[in-house]
Symmetry: C2
Amino acid sequence: MPGQSVGVVESRRAHFDQALHLRSGGVLPAYDLVYETYGTLNAAKSNAILVCHALSGHHHVAGHYADQPDNVGWWDNIVGPGRPLDTDRFFVVGVNNPGGCHGSTGPSSLNPATGKPWGADFPMVAVIDWVHAQARLADLLGIDSWAVIMGGSLGGMQALRWSVTYPERVRNAIVIAAAPKLSAQNIAFNDVARQAILTDPDFHGGNYYEHNTRPVRGLRLARMLGHITYLSDDQMGEKFGRELRNSAFSFGFGVEFEVESYLRHQGDKFAGYFDANTYLLMTKALDYFDPAREDNGNLTATMARSKANFLCVSFSTDWRFSPARSKEMVAALLANGRDVSYAEISLNFGHDSFLMDDAHYHGVIDAYLRNIKL
Amino acid sequence: MPGQSVGVVESRRAHFDQALHLRSGGVLPAYDLVYETYGTLNAAKSNAILVCHALSGHHHVAGHYADQPDNVGWWDNIVGPGRPLDTDRFFVVGVNNPGGCHGSTGPSSLNPATGKPWGADFPMVAVIDWVHAQARLADLLGIDSWAVIMGGSLGGMQALRWSVTYPERVRNAIVIAAAPKLSAQNIAFNDVARQAILTDPDFHGGNYYEHNTRPVRGLRLARMLGHITYLSDDQMGEKFGRELRNSAFSFGFGVEFEVESYLRHQGDKFAGYFDANTYLLMTKALDYFDPAREDNGNLTATMARSKANFLCVSFSTDWRFSPARSKEMVAALLANGRDVSYAEISLNFGHDSFLMDDAHYHGVIDAYLRNIKL
């Protein structure tokens, strides 16, 4: 990894008094957003990059906190002086979306109407709601137009949504390992994960905060399942194969194969800190995402509203959002004569490839960003 | 579907007093097997076909019961006069494996040592144990050598195992939609399913029978997840797409998309009749299956012990056990100079294709069986 980390960072909190009217018909009367920035906004305010997070991500994109040197941002490998999102040149913004569980207003926040956690009463949020909330943050930061909005997976969907909802405010969109809408199989996996949470007796209809418990079992299962879909079959085979935890079969229901140990550990870790209601909301936002629905399914008509230049990136072993799904977006952009670059990267890490530090992958992002005029 | 169903059938029960010593070190002191037969065993006893069942299958392969006209065997479409498993020519046997929940001795049976259901004390069973149990049934039926042993998925694994464990007793093996061992991803999916059951508060460590309850939530999740892996992405897309249950989004956690309705229904139905302990045992038998383990992973050395002719069949859209997995078996057989036929069938039903009534698929089976000399 060439370049350097941005080093010590701080998160900030912005309060918004103006109600956010949501796609679901719900309303957030007021809300907080936590965010971080790296680099310096130039005088023309033309060098801002918004990094949107995916299902389990947040605002802490890069660097580390002074008192938590090991708490490194989730995309630290791509942000910093000399890195593709070069903070000597760009002003990079990360924000936790409404409905999240990392500081922005979400289901575990206090509902001002009741003085208790929102819980099940937190309204359903959609990608377009996040875009509107992020637009208000841009207003606050004095950013009329983003040089780039980018993200992987659900983060890439936000970049796509921005480009058609606020076409004047996005000059470039980098959409990585994403799709213009979920497939039936994608929705099916999400539904199993949700059912695991919803049927956990500790879920208490979403109001588990008041019961001093959490649906840990369900959340753990949801994460274990999710993890299988983030990795490629090949990678799992290379990483774990059929390696046994012990030298011989134990013929019990404890950990037998290393892959079980890995998955259960991932599930336990995640269930220890993530909020189940947020998980439900994020997976529903994924399911609902389908900007072309407003155009009777005609994605070309939808993308006609965008004015951004695009870079779409997919990964050869991503079976969650395969290269074919990226090509749907590329085709719709090309049909509109838009300026679109496309790269299909050969990487063995499945959907999670978008988080990896790979020279070819980062080289593509770097080259694209170097060519942007600020 | 040409040909006819076998019509009214009856299941039988055989009791075995001889202890079955299991791969896990456990012992079944005595056990029952329920089975069905279709057609007539010829005088030379040379026309017998054993059909082995997969994870959720059983002995009721074909026909229907006199008092249950709608209870049709799970592979009825391939068995009967004029069908590929032509009962005018062959004597076809279906048997429920030990550990099952359809009549053969399993976790819900009474443990003679305690007078209570076996529950968690039921020993872990492996594919080779089923093969030994089936061999004793063959002895009972007077079948020294099977013309054919066949099955799909876990059923195909039994055919493979038979061919190397009792090479003198299998003249032909038809291995459909199977693999010589599970991949890390296969094991991972199984482990999530098992964790759903094991962590269900109604599981009671496997002794839920005594608590007058069943781990319905966990079993339902396991089946929902399993179903996703049985179907192809394409098929789910064609069958359900992003069709909504209602005309507009409901923005709730009820059924939103048709695919959710389908999966939840499948989960509910299965959880209503299947035994969770059997589900655990069957998935573990899948995980453990790896006959080449006895030969340090050298499948060619393993298959050298077989004397059967083989037909291996795979399906283009099966991502659970893809065509590449069948080719591993074919390669090991070819390396031994064995007589092996291989067909990769283009069918859109994923792993479940092996249950489908497709002219090309059934034509391949039919042609193979017609060429067998009895």
